[in-house]
Symmetry: C2
Subunit: 393 residues, 2 copies
Amino acid sequence: MRADILVVGGGIGGLTAALALARDGHRVRVLEKAAQFAELGAGLQLAPNATRVLAGLGVLGRVLEAGVRPRRLLLRSALTADELTALDLGEPFLARYGAPYVVMHRSDLLAILYDACLAAGVGLQAGQDVVAVTGDDGAAAAECADGTSYQGAALIAADGLHSGIRALFSADQPVCSGFAAYRGTARIDEVTARSELDEVVAWIGPDLHFVQYPLRAGQIYNQVAVFRSRRYAADPGLADGEWGGPGELDDAFGTCCAQVREATGFLWRDRWWPMYDREPLAGWTRGRIALLGDAAHPMLQYLAQGACQAIEDADALARALAGCPGPQLIGKALAGYQAERAEHAARVQRTARTWGDIWHVSGVGALLRDELFRRRPADDYSYTDWLYGSRVL
Amino acid sequence: MRADILVVGGGIGGLTAALALARDGHRVRVLEKAAQFAELGAGLQLAPNATRVLAGLGVLGRVLEAGVRPRRLLLRSALTADELTALDLGEPFLARYGAPYVVMHRSDLLAILYDACLAAGVGLQAGQDVVAVTGDDGAAAAECADGTSYQGAALIAADGLHSGIRALFSADQPVCSGFAAYRGTARIDEVTARSELDEVVAWIGPDLHFVQYPLRAGQIYNQVAVFRSRRYAADPGLADGEWGGPGELDDAFGTCCAQVREATGFLWRDRWWPMYDREPLAGWTRGRIALLGDAAHPMLQYLAQGACQAIEDADALARALAGCPGPQLIGKALAGYQAERAEHAARVQRTARTWGDIWHVSGVGALLRDELFRRRPADDYSYTDWLYGSRVL
């Protein structure tokens, strides 16, 4: 079956879905609200469950050129700088998961996907703010704020954490974690407090963590600082922007080891991100409409799986529609996509919260965590098989 | 050197010390405040670091007759009843530590020590309330409330948690843990909710635990319930007896699994124990006076080492005095006893607190604990070697 498919939202999830669908012969149109296709933020981690899909879409070569393949993921104590545990990303990892672990700039991945979409004939419409959708009759349609409307056989909502289309499925709201994130990239030679260039390092401590890794073939260095806001904890009624400011950042990291304290000086201080997710959603599809990526399962960043799960969605969606015998059965195909993905994505959402709790635990919990970490070897993949998709049985 | 030695306190530590000293040829006199030599409480656990000493004193045979040799120590979830981890006490354990693990009635051990002391010629004086001691001149002396006074070459204070003699060394006070303990023994056929007869089982959960094991060759069953008092937490100014009552016991264990809830019905309800320890003490000896057992290092019961460490003290004390060339060097010998024991006993005190925290942790800390426990085999002795004294290098 080949059909016209509308994708609302031109982020990483939307463009990967558009690319996958276009490669299968569908005519795809992406409607992006912003004036340009662009990604906010800085670094992005792509685990094998995502790079495997990108390989299938023919873009892994460019991803590897633009990104960095770290040798290991390393967890260190933000307080003492001790190494706590690591995940070896070398040959045994590659053999097990069949695809590499890559870190790269979000905007680089978006540009690669954008180019590939263009080459595959995807219609890419920026400046289209979708204000209403339908998908219960024989077709799906999107109406934009400027009066333009689009029709298709199906509509994929990839409109992110604040998805308007999700309101068709649930009245739920994003859940504020009370943690704020600061980001920053800098030229590699400007960052005096960096870790090894072949590592992704997460420094973890009570109610905070700090992540470092290189981007763009090691030319720039990416950092993320995350901490629990005391202001927000004291008054959860505060609006975004009223909590998590630079003073809180400095206070939170003031007790960290010297390297982490120094490294926080290379963060952007004029902007920060309150961290949100949502509760898992029971139903993602209705008629000819389906959610994808953050619109379906926004998650905290602790597993670095937000983009990866969106990319997995795109792959599953394309397979579901490729197996659809005719346009009248699109609703069933979308339900199949949901059946493949929803339970797993919900588990990733929940596990991301727990993994964050593990990073941020204090007291005897931290003692138990460090001991558990100390006892596992770096080539123990028992905690990642379910997520990265082991090919070793 | 042979000398007259005064031991203040006729509990397990005091009588073991008296026995060890008498076996070495010292003339020993034990002064016990109570009208009879007796032990409060019920069950007692003797790890190899204690049974090794008891074997050397020639009383292990009677200890084994009166006690039970469990096959394993088992930790279970008090909430779900799941097995969390175990310590195998069988042949590999015996080979490693050179002595068995035994559980028995406290009063049975005291009776065995009392009989052995009598046979060894120890002077056993009950009803002697020591109100003043000296030990800085050429002799040590104890003065009792009834006016009696005793002299010796050294004085060993084994007068327990509330040691009056400790005031010579420190103005510290017992530290209340805010946990209350209920105990109970019953005829084995009366307890309907017991665990296997060859196991010591600790059911652990948030802010509580419950211990079960058999005594007297399996004829009676011993149980201990421990929980954090909410009344005490809300008002730490409450006196003992004003918190931890039976209503709190029932509330605390109300959320436990059926077996634990049923088992709490076999506890004594007319008496409970607030749980205290103290901070480690820098100095234990002064001139001819030395502390021993709970007087020196009272500890929370989580490692079941209170009696064991007192027995280790007795052994170290006897060796130190056996190596003393003459009465004028007794102070030096006592300092040697302290040097051998103080750091280790302080570590046991601190570790007992931490081990309790591990038992009682909730949330993500419990998840980490259970995972750490799940991954260790029952014959992993890496956490007990320092405590039980491995003979395997």
